[in-house]
Amino acid sequence: MSASGERPEVGRHDNEHLRRFVAAREAGDVIEMRRWWEELVISLNDRIDGVVAAAHRGRLDDQEHETAVALALVRVGTRLMDTFIGVSMGELVNATCTLARHICIDVQRASISERQRSRSLDAGWDADVEDRPSARWEADEAWARLDRRERSADTAAFLDWAMPQVSDTHRPVLELTFHGEPVAEICAELHISEANAHQRRSRGMKELVKLRAQYDRS
């Protein structure tokens, strides 16, 4: 496999599920809609779980984590059914990550409030919940932005923009990574050691994080 040129594809297999779902929704075919909606939820589940876990950095307990994941699934599933007008899996992935991250923040805030209230329970119910999450729901706005296409935040578009800017040392490793190549294959392809491949991959991701911040500001 060549390590250059081709743009890494995101969710290339699930794009077909999304296309079929959107087509069924447009046709009003509820049975087909449900079929492909379920496939999309299955495809997104682990990503939602992972984004939630990364957002709270393992600081929520299992129950709180599961609650955050379930709420995120509800939000993503509902938006997908009712309002999502994106056409690529990259757009859906981006919107999903935003929603999941914000729901995790909400659960974290609730968790902190709950702990504060638990401490005050001994003194009765005087300690109220004014510091609970506000009604302002940033994720709604994130999704709305996506729906309005005010922001070309499609993951594929970001990678198109970002990958040429990644350093020559790290880019080939990232490209092979996005093509699903494991470290052993990358080492063989690029004639580098395993430790070097791990390091270049990690540093390449850090470059992408910086580029993402730059991309989102622009």
Binding site: W37, I42, H65, T67, D106, R109, A135, P182
Partner: protein
């Protein structure tokens, strides 16, 4: 190469290989808080751009069987959506009984202290999925969200979850009487006359309006 480099790389290979790596497990393997935060940031960045793994049939079946996914899928067929599942979970997480939740809501909603019991009754019906989600007021959802730690939008979504994916109910059958329908019409009119003679039901009070008076109540 750091441990975080190695963990991230292992995570990526497992993700791409469709082996469903668990982020929380990877974070536990870090040496300290700083390394954990670095790895979390790196994994988050990866998940934003990662290709969808080629899950095999077994992996897809395993995901489908996960409790959260099962609840979400089952809720599509339930009239009250996810409320019968989500509301008790959120309340339990907040460490509140139904009565305690009612006690929190009453002052927030400017109800009388004497309304606590009826509020608790309504809350139980809400958790059993006996109330029409679209008739629950925004004010109540807002107050519930504040106490339970979820946004009103999430609660509203959970209530009507899946309606778009349900086939529309079939229209009622129209039957034409073949013979003399006079007796049937007479019986129907008698029923209607009895109903008309009943006293007018009491108007909705403040508690009723919050639970069954519609979104703007």
């Amino acid at each position: 190469m750091t441990d975080a480099d190695l963990l991230l790389s292992e995570f990526i290979d497992a993700w791409n290989g469709g082996r469903r790596p668990n982020v929380r497990e990877y974070l536990k393997r870090t040496a300290d808080d700083a390394a954990r935060d670095d790895l979390a940031d790196a994994i988050d960045a990866w998940l934003q751009v990662a290709p969808a793994p080629d899950y095999g049939a077994d992996a897809r079946a395993a995901i489908r069987a996960e409790p959260a996914v099962q609840h979400v899928f089952a809720a599509v067929d339930a009239e009250a959506g996810l409320w019968p599942h989500a509301l008790p979970v959120l309340r339990t997480r907040a460490r509140l009984s139904v009565a305690q939740l009612a006690a929190h809501l009453v002052p927030r909603l400017a109800l009388h202290a004497t309304d606590e019991e009826r509020t608790a009754d309504y809350l139980e019906r809400l958790e059993r999925g006996e109330l029409e989600p679209t008739r629950v007021s925004r004010r109540l959802l807002q107050a519930l969200g504040e106490v339970l730690g979820a946004s009103p939008s999430t609660l509203a979504d959970a209530g009507i979850f899946g309606r778009t994916l349900r086939p529309a109910a079939a229209g009622g059958a129209l039957l034409r009487a073949e013979g003399n329908a006079g007796d049937h019409v007479e019986a129907d009119l008698a029923v209607l006359a009895c109903a008309a003679a009943e006293p007018v039901p009491p108007a909705l009070d403040a508690v009723d309006r919050l639970f069954v008076g519609g979104r703007d109540a």
